[in-house]
């Protein structure tokens, strides 16, 4: 498997504070790759930098061999990357259908088929397709943001803590959908706090602590309680 996304020596700073201090990692084509780490480690910063919302100070980001570090966010979407951001950023005053149409803004072809297919995959959204997104429950909003990201037909889906703050049953559903998408051939780069669930679906994972990658391996290569300890608390040595 070749690297679909390659990040090399990435530094992103807020003013003088470096949130990423030279991060290098790869997401293989067709894989689910997971990024674990404690709060403030730089996971969301990495996602936002890859998506072009934040600008890297140094380093390379390449997607299927092409550098995307200098592209605007909408051009990155056009190149085949979609981010499901943290905190469920729906358009609250727009209907479910309008949210989906917005997700396909870069596309010129007919959307009806894709909307129908996605609503089939997310039956709860189908029931509420004409409702304003702001009136949906947290879980439904998360489904909507995932569906909206899929409307751009991404080759790589970035997901930033999709299970955060959701009821256990909804979390199960989210992970079921992640597995389904993976079967359909979408590569997924997943940031998670829920290390237990993430390690069940991922083929590869990275640990990030204080802006640096501190471990990289397969789910079996480090005892799960050790992963969880470091993902939540960081390693004591640092």
């Amino acid at each position: 498997m070749s690297a679909l996304l390659e990040v090399k020596d990435l530094v992103t700073a807020y003013g003088k504070i470096e949130a990423l201090r030279g991060v290098s990692l790869e997401v293989a084509e067709g894989s689910i790759t997971c990024l674990l780490g404690p709060n403030g480690a730089g996971k969301t910063t990495l996602m936002m930098t890859v998506a072009g919302i934040l600008r890297a100070k140094k380093g390379l980001i390449s997607f299927s061999g092409k550098s995307i570090a200098s592209l605007q966010p909408h051009a990155i979407v056009a190149s085949g990357i979609a981010l499901v951001p943290e905190n469920r950023l729906v358009f609250p005053g727009m209907t479910v259908i309008e949210n989906l149409r917005a997700g396909a803004y870069q596309r010129r072809d007919d959307l009806a088929g894709d909307i129908e297919r996605l609503l089939g995959r997310f039956p709860r959204l189908k029931e509420r397709s004409e409702q304003l997104a702001g009136t949906l429950s947290g879980g439904e909003q998360q489904m909507l943001v995932v569906a909206r990201a899929l409307m751009s037909r991404p080759r790589l889906l970035l997901m930033d803590e999709p299970s955060l703050g959701l009821a256990p049953l909804v979390v199960e559903e989210i992970f079921r959908i992640i597995a389904e998408l993976h079967r359909d051939g979408v590569s997924i780069f997943l940031v998670e706090q829920n290390a237990h669930m993430a390690l069940k679906v991922a083929q590869h994972f990275y640990l990030i602590e204080q802006g640096r990658v501190t471990f990289s391996g397969d789910p079996g290569s480090l005892a799960e309680d050790e992963v969880i300890r470091r993902a939540y608390l960081g390693s004591a040595k640092q």
Binding site: G52, Q72, A75, A82, P85, F91, M94, Y105, R148, A149
Partner: protein
């Protein structure tokens, strides 16, 4: 007495329709870019001067003059956007506003210095006698103003809710980060919204100049003040609010001119704004552009 009140109301609605058009342009820019464009009026003034020039130089007909007003205003607007708003897209809103104030002065000086006479005749929209009905009088120009303003409202609503561009505009207003992540180019939306607002300004400027049958450098300041006032009355950033604010301003002016005389007319409008800002009712603080 009742007839006078009705007549004042009619005049106020016509006046208010012009203010509503100006306020819509202001509100589009404020609601989407979160920026106040003080150079809005001066850009309109330049567009209208270009139209008077076209009328004198090539005796253009009204349709062509409308096109020249709109094109001229959009061109002047593009200049303002490049200089004031494109460089401050992520920066301070105050910096953009101050820059647009500087361009206001620049454009106004340009008009004063480059044009030997200050007052230029503008072709009349309609030369015939006014309409008479039920004892009321309505100038045809005023009727056109009301109809055009209503038409613009319908067209804007349709565009916002039933077009791909409208979808992008609403998404950018609701959540700029999410809009970027959905693949919507924010700079692209901003530039196009600015162009639409400028075109609306050109349309309003054409109707106002053709009603007054003249253009002066004061048109710039007048348009900025009236549009800004109407937008604030309607509660910053809401398009229906801009229309209501414009109509309310027109009605207040028409009635206070009748009851208190033209000297007190503007004072009363500003007093009203002051009272509303001091009391801040709930509808004034809503911030949606829909």
């Amino acid at each position: 007495m009742f007839l006078d009140l009705a007549q004042n109301t009619l005049d106020g609605l016509a006046r208010g329709s012009a203010y509503a058009l100006l306020a819509l342009g202001f509100t589009l820019v404020f609601g989407v870019l979160r920026r106040v464009n003080l150079s809005y009026g001066p850009a309109i003034m330049l567009g209208c001067y270009l139209a008077t020039w076209a009328s004198m130089a090539i005796h253009a007909n009204l349709i062509l003059l409308l096109a020249v007003s709109v094109a001229g205003t959009v061109l002047a607007g593009a200049y303002v956007e490049r200089l004031c708003f494109a460089p401050h897209r992520k920066g301070s809103a105050i910096a953009a506003m101050v820059a647009s104030f500087a361009l206001w002065m620049q454009l106004e000086e340009l008009a004063v210095l480059a044009l030997p006479r200050h007052l230029y005749a503008f072709p009349a929209l309609y030369e015939g006698s006014p309409l008479q009905f039920l004892g009321l009088t309505l100038r045809v120009e005023s009727g056109v103003m009301i109809v055009v303003a209503a038409g613009v409202c319908v067209a804007l609503r349709r565009t916002l809710y039933h077009s791909k561009f409208g979808l992008a505009v609403r998404a950018a207003v609701e959540n700029p980060v999410a809009a970027s992540l959905a693949g919507i180019s924010l700079p692209g939306v901003f530039v196009r919204v600015f162009a639409v607002a400028s075109a609306l300004g050109g349309l309003a400027g054409f109707l106002i100049s053709a009603t007054h049958e003249q253009v002066t450098p004061m048109l710039g300041m007048w348009s900025t003040l009236k549009g800004l006032l109407a937008m604030m009355l309607g509660g910053l950033g809401s398009l229906p609010g801009a229309v209501i604010g414009g109509l309310a301003l027109g009605l207040v002016e028409a009635h206070s001119q009748w009851f208190f005389g033209p000297q007190l007319r503007d004072l009363i409008a500003y007093l009203l704004l002051f009272l509303l800002l001091a009391m801040r009712p709930r509808w004034m603080t809503t911030q949606s552009a829909s």
